[in-house]
């Protein structure tokens, strides 16, 4: 008789679930899609996703769980009402997936299993008596823990699976590689080099050969002077710092020819639309205080603390001697998630009159930041008196992964960098590789790439528009834009076979020619889309709340924008979404012409040396 009661209770629970999202990356976008009209989550008895653990009994962890965010995931689970369940959505959340890298927890919801070699475990959320306690991963039965796949147990790890400094016996010496591209310096670049050398003497050294842009090597002690000169006095002036990075040179073969580390500055000049790269070899490294990903200490920096990694992280992950794979490190367990907490909010903000101000955390788990970003605000009543941000809750360490993958094998990781833009992420990487190796891409392949990138850009902007409206209080655009986004993703699926991350571009071209039937689907989309854009505009254009919350907020002066290195949409905030339409039109027209001129053979799209076997199925 009690068995029947159980069935009844279970049935009732099944159809009255209150799911709560813990969205971390790509999988969360798909989870949010499940809420919209096409998939309609209400069919499962779960009408809405809850943002707070107090109102939820089903935690859906979707996306990559990072070691910095894991304590938050665990806390939210503990704060949920009883009885409670967890769904781990996607391979990253299940087992780390393709992100076997230092910053990623190798799966939640798994019972810790002792194994001999790399422990690919184990962040176990299980509590109470509900659900299963059986180990999900059993070696050689349900899962191979070898990152190379099953059946490799007897073979020592070598080749690209091994990263510096243990990387030896490279076979690349025996391979033919294309000669690097070389370009001629423009006259203004030549003048600049001469000027700098006249000004700073031996401290400035020209680096040959020139592959993409003028590159100069600067002595460490003159760096500040050179940068100041380039920003204020040089012709042209280099006003924007595009990027700042560093290279760990310790894995070089001719170790004695290189310093320990090299700083790399990328500068942009607005006057002449030219770029400049500065390389700064750093000596006497080890005396310096160790810091951040590479451990470089900058003199005079007002606030030098960890930005990406958790505050109690040991070592500097991008150094060659830091383990790359999570499986090479000690397993991250429930114990670590309980002990290694994010920094207290009081560390970040100043409260001027001490006890009368409230310090409040908005994020990392918040409707508008979903797991990525944490704002720490100091509140005096309703007024925000101080604000700081804490990032690194989403750090997939693609730089470190890039060190161990081959040029081709790295492509799947690109789409996941900006997981709304899919193949559009592949393009800049491929352009870089192709310009390094001087590879020519057939025109038809170029057009296909641009077309797919534009489609992804549209789908990306649709999600931007929906979530942006949502963040300022308008729920409806979500349901409109996800409708058209599904159309775009259907076209993408028809062409590439993939949805969010097709990994379909190749070095020198694309994986295959456009399939039958791509044109009608695209034509249909292009036919209806302008009207839909009008719909979106009607939704918000005249909405007084939307206008009040968006107009005249967050102003940045031109000088500030240049000084802070602001790029992208923030530089052109008045750019309407409709501007993408002419761009895709051009791409489509061009594609039409290209299709007419080629004889529709797939091999035409592929460059020499790339096998059609790489087609994604």
């Amino acid at each position: 008789m009690l068995g029947g009661t159980d069935a009844l209770i279970n049935w009732s629970r099944k159809y009255s679930l209150w799911p709560m999202f813990f969205g971390l990356s790509c999988c969360f976008v798909e989870e949010a899609t499940a809420l919209t009209a096409r998939y309609d989550m209400a069919r499962f008895g779960a009408e809405v996703l809850r943002p707070s653990p107090r109102q939820a009994d089903l935690l859906i962890v979707s996306g990559t769980v990072f070691k910095k965010i894991a304590p938050v995931v665990l806390r939210l689970y503990e704060q949920m009402a009883e009885p409670k369940w967890v769904i781990s959505m996607g391979s990253c959340s299940n087992c780390g997936g393709m992100y076997d890298v230092y910053s990623v927890v190798q799966g939640i919801l798994q019972k810790k299993i002792e194994t001999e070699s790399p422990t690919r475990t184990i962040f176990h959320l299980k509590g109470g008596s509900q659900g299963s306690v059986k180990p999900i991963l059993v070696d050689a039965q349900t899962k191979s823990r070898d990152p190379r796949g099953p059946g490799m147990e007897g073979t020592a790890i070598r080749g690209t699976s091994v990263v510096p400094p243990d990387f030896r016996d490279s076979r690349s010496d025996l391979m033919w590689t294309p000669p690097p591209r070389q370009i001629e310096l423009s006259s203004s670049d030549q003048n600049l080099t001469l000027n700098l050398q006249a000004q700073f003497g031996d401290a400035v050294e020209f680096v040959a050969p020139v592959c993409d842009m003028l590159t100069l090597q600067i002595a460490e002690n003159r760096l500040k002077d050179v940068l100041r000169y380039l920003k204020a006095e040089a012709t042209p002036r280099y006003q924007r710092l595009d990027d700042l990075t560093a290279i760990d040179e310790s894995a070089r073969r001719q170790r004695e020819n290189f310093a320990d580390f090299t700083m790399v500055y990328h500068l942009l000049s607005f006057d002449s639309a030219s770029r400049l790269r500065l390389k700064v070899p750093l000596q006497d490294w080890y005396e310096r205080e160790v810091f951040d990903l590479l451990g470089i200490r900058f003199e005079g920096h007002p606030n030098l603390r960890r930005i990406i990694m958790p505050p109690d992280w040991q070592g500097h992950p991008l150094r060659k001697n830091h383990p790359g794979r999570a499986t090479e490190m000690a397993p991250y367990t429930r114990k670590e998630a309980q002990e290694l907490q994010p920094l207290d909010g009081g560390v970040f903000v100043k409260t001027s009159d001490g006890e009368h101000q409230l310090i409040l955390n908005i994020g990392p788990h918040h409707v508008s930041t979903h797991g990525l970003l944490r704002y720490i605000v100091a509140l005096n009543g309703e007024e925000i008196t101080d604000l700081d941000m804490d990032i690194g809750y989403h750090h997939r360490a693609v730089e470190k992964i890039g060190e161990r993958q081959t040029w081709h094998q790295f492509i799947p990781y690109l789409a996941r960098v900006d997981y709304l833009a899919g193949a559009a992420n592949d393009l800049p990487y491929l352009l870089a590789v192709e310009s390094l190796a001087d590879i020519k891409v057939p025109e038809r392949a170029q057009v296909i790439r641009v077309m797919l990138s534009e489609l992804f850009r549209l789908s990306n902007h649709l999600v931007w528009f929906a979530t942006y409206s949502h963040d300022v209080g308008a729920m409806t655009p979500n349901f409109y834009t996800f409708r058209e986004r599904e159309m775009i993703l259907d076209i993408v699926e028809r062409i590439t076979g993939g949805r969010l991350h097709p990994s379909w571009f190749r070095i020198g071209g694309v994986a295959a020619d456009l399939p039958e039937g791509w044109k009608p689907a695209l034509d249909e989309f292009v036919r209806i889309f302008p009207k839909r854009l009008q719909e979106y505009e009607n939704l918000i254009r005249n909405n007084p709340i939307f206008k009040a919350r968006t107009r005249g907020v967050g102003r940045i002066s031109l000088q500030d924008a240049m000084d802070w290195g602001v790029t992208g949409p923030n530089l052109s905030p008045r750019q309407p979404a409709a501007i993408v339409m002419p761009v895709i039109w051009c791409a489509l027209k061009k594609c039409d012409r290209a299709c007419a001129s080629s004889n529709r053979r797939p091999a035409k799209c592929l460059p020499a040396g790339v096998s059609p076997m790489t087609t994604v199925t």
Binding site: R75, E78, H356, L358, I359, L360
Partner: protein, 136 residues
């Protein structure tokens, strides 16, 4: 139109209050049984984490019991004061014919006094809401 008598349409007082009492008791029993069943069947595990306030998954800093500046409170008090004065004005408006010009003069004096008070509060900054923003 003749006013309708209640005889024969509404229940007599005695039987009406009886069915109302039955209704109230049934409601109380129903609500109590729901609560008791929920308390009896529901799982309660009071752990440290569960009793902690939810603040986006981070451990909160400091106490929430602060001396909290609430401009809304001031505005609410002002509203209450002026709202109550409205009662006098409405009363005058209903009887304005009978009160004549002397009544009109008195209520005008009263309204001007109120406006002076409002103007005073306004000038003193009592109606300023939110942070003071610098113009550009």
């Amino acid at each position: 139109m003749q006013p309708m008598g209640s005889t024969g349409i509404l229940s007599p007082w005695e039987s009406g209050v009886f069915s109302l009492a039955i209704f109230v008791v049934l409601i109380l029993i129903f609500v109590a049984s729901q609560l008791i069943v929920a308390v009896w069947l529901g799982e309660k595990k009071k752990t440290v984490e569960k009793l902690r306030p939810y603040e986006s998954g981070i451990i909160p800093t400091g106490t929430a019991r602060l001396r909290y500046p609430v401009p809304f409170y001031l505005v609410a008090i002002f509203f209450l004061i002026f709202d109550v004065e409205g009662a006098f004005i409405f009363t005058w408006a209903i009887a304005r014919g009978e009160l004549g010009w002397s009544g009109w003069l008195q209520i005008s004096f009263f309204i001007v006094l109120l406006l002076l008070g409002l103007f005073y509060i306004w000038r003193k900054g009592g109606l300023d809401w939110g942070p003071i923003t610098q113009k550009d």
